[in-house]
Symmetry: none
Subunit: 406 residues, 2 copies
């Protein structure tokens, strides 16, 4: 609660529990404070079927979990011989003396069941009025290990949720949020028991489709149906499904067709090349790029005719087409991308406001180009530009027309 550390344990546990088909109703963080931990624990006991507590199991003064649990549940602290032996063994291996602080860890609330009694990562479990409580260490590695190895299997065994839980993710680009909200409304009606989630992820929008049910086949069929409904509504805007990102999709499509690509970047300064090369194995299709941030560089490296820049400006369709054609020649690739624009905050004019960007794609037999006006700050304009350029490759390879953003 001091903001000093980011709570990745709760995030990890929630993800694992959700994936296992269990429902997380609340996540609470409190400081190392007797009253607050007690209160949070009692509240959890009142309205949950299982409770997961992390942290406070160590040997320092602010590790209070055992004491607090004992007093909150009115159980005495008892010396657990098993735990004591584990501590002694662990100390011996590391050449540490057994201190009172270390011994403290072996005093556990009456009725505790030790988790993982053979290993070094230790936690315990208590049943109280039909509620199962797990206490896990706060050290992320140990917590994750016990979670995956012991807690999740036990919980699934005990609570037997509807056995099958599946989730799909559909990723959209080029649709504005309010439009997705409108489309979403129709989907909610068509969805039946399917749970839809909507996550803006600038400049992308992700839709999750989840369903829990009795058997794999019916769950899969129902998810399929909703996914197809989404595709009918916004098909060309769906750039990826599942965990793939834009650069992976583009990379996969280029690899599949054995095509190579190069890039000429002005306002993005290298971002498109950076994204393409985030994908392992991208050297198969990415030959390289140039960041031509000055007019001089556009002329020297890409031989863009100074007359074109003079007449139409560096941010123009004519310039971006010349950049794309030339970089394709320089790197001898089948495809090339070029972008030029005004990322701001300065440099805009009435004619060409900040956010004005031209994108071009040069292929063997054609050059495509188009002007966009993106909204946002400098980094958002750069990100949107790189996203649009990459999406052009996807659309070109998929045979989609270059639809306007709606």
């Amino acid at each position: 609660v001091s903001g000093r550390t980011l709570d990745i344990n709760a995030w990890y546990a929630a993800g694992r529990l959700t994936a296992a088909g269990l429902h997380v109703s609340r996540i609470t963080s409190v400081g190392d404070d007797h009253r607050k931990v007690t209160e949070a624990l009692k509240k959890a006991l009142r309205d949950s079927r299982f409770v997961l507590v992390t942290g406070g199991l160590g040997s320092t003064d602010d590790d209070l979990t055992n004491e607090i649990v004992a007093s909150a549940l009115n159980r005495p602290l008892c010396l657990d011989e098993n735990m004591l032996r584990l501590i002694e063994k662990h100390a011996a291996v590391r050449g540490i003396k057994i201190t009172a602080s270390l011994k403290k860890m072996a005093w556990m609330p009456d009725g505790s069941r030790l988790l993982n009694p053979a290993g070094t990562a230790c936690g315990f479990c208590i049943e109280e009025r039909g509620v199962r409580l797990y206490f896990l260490p706060g050290v992320p590695d140990q917590m994750r290990y016990l979670m995956d190895k012991l807690v999740i299997p036990e919980l699934i065994g005990t609570f037997r949720p509807l056995p099958v839980m599946r989730q799909r993710i559909v990723k959209l680009y080029g649709l504005n949020e309010p439009n997705i909200a409108e489309i979403f409304k129709d989907l909610h009606h068509a969805g039946g028991d399917v749970v839809l989630g909507f996550y803006p992820h600038f400049p992308e929008n992700h839709i999750t489709i989840s369903l829990r049910g009795e058997n794999e086949k019916s769950v899969t069929q129902e998810l399929e149906r909703v996914e197809q409904a989404i595709e009918r509504l916004v098909g060309p805007y769906v750039f990826a499904k599942g965990i793939e990102n834009m650069e992976e999709v583009v990379g996969r499509k280029l690899s599949d067709r054995r095509l190579t690509i190069s890039v000429a970047e002005s306002c993005t300064g290298g971002l498109i090349g950076h994204r393409l090369t985030n994908v392992p194995g991208s050297s198969v299709y990415f030959r390289g790029g140039v960041a031509v941030y000055s007019n001089q560089a556009k002329m020297n490296l890409l031989h863009v005719d100074p007359k074109i820049i003079d007449r139409y400006g560096a941010v123009s369709d004519a310039t971006v087409r010349a950049m794309a054609t030339s970089v394709r020649d320089v790197f001898q690739t089948e495809l090339s991308l070029a972008v030029t624009g005004i990322a701001g905050p300065s440099g805009g004019s009435t004619d060409k406001p900040v956010g004005t960007v031209h994108v071009a794609l040069a292929a063997i037999d054609n050059v495509f180009s188009k002007k966009y006006v993106f909204w946002g700050n400098r980094e958002q304009i750069k990100l949107n530009t790189s996203m649009m350029a990459l999406d052009w490759v996807r659309r070109y390879l998929d045979g989609h027309p270059f639809l306007p953003s709606i």
Copy 2:
């Protein structure tokens, strides 16, 4: 609560509140569920003096905050004309139609006070039975902006902890975490009432120095003293203070000396150019770069001698020096950077494991180069490489030697 997204808002807010001398007693996360949000809200009202709620203010169906607050506090939802105008203005700028979903955002609980009524990031504030409730958007950028600009100053004004509260941030690069922890230990003793915070921020490490006190002068003097103590310990590793980032520091130093720079990137694929051009006005000093991802490109664009690549390999000191010298000529800049390395996951060998990176800096009278072996995944290796290259420019301009990472 599904574990799909990591809650960085709570972490950020807790950190800022703590640094401001306020005490966070509990952090609760619940899903988009009417009953659970209501319950959490009512509990917070019972035992807090101020409550901060993030998320659920948008235009989609699962944005329920306004409705839930209205019903939990027994207040009607009223159309806020100010908010409606903001939405209309925002929509007009982006060329979006006003839909019912968008309009929904302007229906706010009776008695709400709009935060930041002139800007695009919006939230609101309500007083209920002596408790101040803030409702902020879930989008991290907007939430942070409102938090820093409005909420924290208001809270400090209302709850009046010691009148003066100052915080400084010192950003380190090139020191490993365990070493900082050791250095930190000494600082804790020397620090007096100063609160030190330590935030790893891969690949950077940030130290915050905060102090609350009676008057500006004594607080500033004390912070100065601790900041100087840090500088004595790790001076050359301090690349920035306050909100500046590495590319801004490098940009400022280049601007100040009217120097220009160009980059030749292999394993980073464009990331260094991207970072340099994230800084507004970077066209003054950044002329451009090349991403030479294939050996062919290294030879064609940068005229790297094929014999050098044959003899020493593409990942070698000889190659990176040739790249740096050549790109400096191509773009006619005073300085240039070059990097070549193995970002993985494949491509490593016993001699040159994944993470092996060569960095070079070419200046008017000299070329510096050095080999590093970075640890991490592909993106981490790329990030560390770009960071190290940029840090070389800073160190060169500051006259620091090229210290090894410790």
